[in-house]
Amino acid sequence: MRRNFTLHLLFLAFLVGTAYSVHSQNAPLDSYDAFYLEPIEIKGNVERHFSDGARISTMIYDSTGNSQNITLTAKEYDEQLFMANADFIVTRTPEVLIYRAYEDLASVYSSVKIELVDRESGEAYSTYSVQSMKLVRKFDDWYITHLNIQNESPIDPLPAHLVQDKAAISASAAVEKENNDLATPKEGIPYDSAKVYHVRDVDEPPVYPGDVASYKNMLDQFQVTTIATPGYTPFIITIGEDGLASLSYVHDLSGFQISRAESFVRSMLIWYPGIKDAASVKCKIILYIHD
């Protein structure tokens, strides 16, 4: 029952779309902004953002991390949004991470913060998703031809630097900012000695010894960055309770990249571990290595 509820909630979250008044959109990001920012009110408005034959494909998760892929037509998507709007006040806050365009095709890769407030109870939910949107130009307007949505997994939250309120612009800034952001620990995540925590969910995140410059030098030396960057592939390191770093996820790295990531981790000093409820805990950090 709980799993079904969670799936339902996440499904509603991904369905969040917007309506917009009909007017000319002359650039891909104009259409992008209009799609996300207008309130959902009138049935059919969302569908108008999509080109003929467009599909919306999404990955959703239950509380145990099991995934499902659901694909909808623009009309089905519109209907689901309309129904969601009846029960929830919905707001979305998108953030473009990577943008590409060539002639009449554009690709926008972004993170989207989704907030749902139950109209009856007033209870609020929020989650993040990564959305990959493709737009095409027809008759001087831009339309969405495909939308791929990855909802935040409960067991693998979005890295802090990919979401709006934790944006960072450099490796050193990311380290400093995460330390500042985490001055107020997230509530509701109980201490669990076996759990590998996201840095957002601990009272104090792991800290690399020495100054920020030495950490950044090490990142540069191994062509690693803390920010999603074209030409870089993500991987995860875990900082144990003892402060030792280890590679924990190298899903799509090449053999050469894995070798370089291993050298990177081996060259690390012992970290100050993350702290939760006054105890040392395991923490994961997502990094990106050059292809």
Partner: protein, 177 residues
Amino acid sequence: MTKSLSILIVMVLCCRVGDGFGQTYSSIDDIVQAYYKAVSIGEKESRMAAYEDIFIPSGTITSVKTSATKPSSVKTLSWGDLIRETAPFYSDFEINLIENEREVDYYLDIATAHTLVNQRSLQKSTGKTYSQFLWIDFDLVYFDDRWYISAINWIDQSSRQPIQNALLTDTLWHQSE
């Protein structure tokens, strides 16, 4: 005799893998390469089977064909409809895709692979080869322990700018206002 049979079995297995079937598609490279192979298959039913193996059932392909004198032609089809519509083209041409460059945007179980590709079309009747450059954009999803293609969007190189411009990135941290 036994040795010959063993060699034959190994050769058959190699051909099978080479056709794209039996692949695990556990990496993004697997699924992208499988698409290039599928596109090059001349026989319609085999091409259909290869597409079925790598696309989700509702997968789509959007083509944007540029023109120097007219607006671009944009069309979205299911992969099944695309195979049916392009059957006459395949009776006249052999297609080959050669990837020159690739970038990947990636988070958990979705990814987008942006590739610059040289499409070579050999006209069977004349032996002439026609070449064009494409930006092919793969939308990928990962479930059941493998990658699938949920959509492909491609555009051909226009006379106005080089196709390499497609991989230039811009507008980091754009916020909607």
